[in-house]
């Protein structure tokens, strides 16, 4: 299960830089597909919910609903500075709460935007976490 990860990419109010870096890591230079990581279209197919962008007030209930729609066992990765802690939009009128007060986050990948090497490091941590969880069962 740690060698076959389906990722659902959710961008709620990001500047799209993190989204470009996600696509970046699927290009030939870094090629995440050789680790079994694929992007899927539907949340019901996903193992990992990849959240970019600082969640707005209006999208927070939607993100919570999407997390509940993901078939368990599922994991959440907060991507970038905005996903981890709202980044430089901490005091903005539109960002109510950081993401980890709404859904449980497993891995944080900091950076603005994170370099593909940081993305790979974060995903390796996620794979180890999945393996430990399966071994512990």
């Amino acid at each position: 299960m740690s060698r076959s990860i389906y990722v659902f990419h959710l961008s709620s109010g990001s500047c799209n830089n993190c989204d470009i870096e996600i696509l970046d890591s699927l290009t030939p230079r870094y090629d995440l597909e050789r680790f079994g990581i694929t992007l899927v279209g539907s949340i019901r197919h996903a193992d990992v919910l990849l959240c970019t962008g600082s969640a707005n007030r209006l999208t927070l209930p939607i993100i919570k609903k999407l997390y509940e729609e993901m078939p368990k066992p599922g994991f959440v990765v907060a991507f970038g500075a905005c996903g981890s802690s709202r980044g430089l939009f901490k005091d903005s009128y539109n960002t109510g709460q950081p993401l980890d007060e709404i859904i449980p986050i497993d891995v944080y990948i900091p950076g603005c935007p994170p370099k593909p090497e940081a993305i790979i490091g974060g995903l390796v941590k996620l794979a180890k976490m999945i393996r430990e969880k399966n071994r512990g069962k």
Binding site: S4, P28, R34, G36, V40, R44, P71
Partner: protein
């Protein structure tokens, strides 16, 4: 043949276990060739097995509220059993024992029509607007590609003396050269390749499962075991349809001797390679363009090849 032998053929070889394993490997060939064409290193050879095992064993199956569970959960089973049965009949007719019966070509074609229908019904039972759009596109695709598929299919049947038995078609080609060696055979092979792309839901005809447009379209509400069974059915289709083309156009496994089997395998890999190449060099076409394409040029090509076959070319 008694019941135990039939069950063995259906469940183990050349049925569920063999076709399932081969289908997952061919799915890997598709991903690996795609990766090489994009200058990447693709996933390892066991990747599809891990994906299917994860879906079947680890993930929970979520069912939308208020829908008919019989349709939602029964359609994947229908797709899997139809695909497995078609693959069993097709491969056992290719064997050296020449098991088969009069009309097994029609049975194989009928069974191979089932998985897309099951997909469409499953999509309509999902109570999701995007799945409905995907299901209606699947219906339109089926209406458009079935006509040239059957017209092109009649060419090997005509050329082998109006034989409706797969064993007779193989014997004719072993005796007097492959169907693809004639003009009508080449034209109908071309029409058949396009129809196979559409039947399998490969790009450029994958608008029912438009990944970035419809968010997985027909499959959108499926998860866990139901999704795993649908993906397994699609893998068996990916294995069985090129095998059908090799049997009808290139002579299958001929007389069963090792050289013929190796020749059949090489032709099979060539056809899979052609399909992956078409998949990687074309964008997705709009559904009305796809319908015009299949009802226009492809149907005319298939009809022309049919006429040429009757005239003897």
């Amino acid at each position: 043949m008694n019941l135990a032998e039939y069950l063995f053929m259906f469940l183990v070889f050349p049925g569920f276990l063999f076709s399932g394993t081969a289908g997952l490997v061919i799915g890997w060939v598709d991903r690996k060739v795609t990766a090489i064409l994009q200058w990447r290193v693709g996933p390892p050879w066991y990747q599809n097995f891990l994906d299917t095992a994860k879906l079947l064993l680890y993930k929970e199956t979520l069912i939308p509220k208020g829908i008919s569970r019989g349709y939602f959960l029964g359609m994947p089973l229908l797709a899997l059993s139809a695909a497995t049965l078609a693959s069993t009949v097709l491969l056992s007719a290719n064997g050296s024992a020449r098991t088969g019966f009069l009309g097994d070509v029609i049975v194989v074609v009928y069974l191979l029509m089932m998985p897309p229908i099951a997909l469409m019904l499953g999509a309509f039972s999902s109570a999701n607007t995007l799945a409905s759009v995907g299901g209606s596109r699947e219906m339109k695709m089926m209406l458009s590609y079935e006509l040239p598929f059957l017209l092109a299919l009649s060419v090997p049947v005509i050329k082998s003396g109006y034989a409706l038995k797969l064993g007779d078609i193989i014997n004719y080609q072993a005796a007097s050269g492959a169907v693809i060696g004639n003009l009508s055979g080449v034209l109908s092979f071309l029409a058949m390749i396009f129809c196979i792309q559409a039947k399998l839901g490969f790009v450029p005809f994958d608008s029912p499962e438009a990944e970035t447009e419809l968010m997985a379209g027909v499959y959108i509400e499926y998860s866990g075991k139901a999704l795993g069974i649908f993906k397994l059915a699609k893998s068996i289709m990916i294995f069985a349809l090129p095998a059908l083309i090799v049997t009808l156009y290139c002579g299958g496994t001929g007389s069963g001797s090792p050289t013929d089997i190796i020749k059949g395998l090489l032709e099979y890999i060539g056809i899979v390679f052609i399909m992956v190449l078409i998949k990687n060099t074309n964008p997705r076409v709009r559904i009305d363009h796809a319908m015009k394409f299949f009802w226009g040029p492809v149907a005319l090509l298939a009809a022309l090849s049919c006429i040429l076959a009757v005239m003897g070319y």
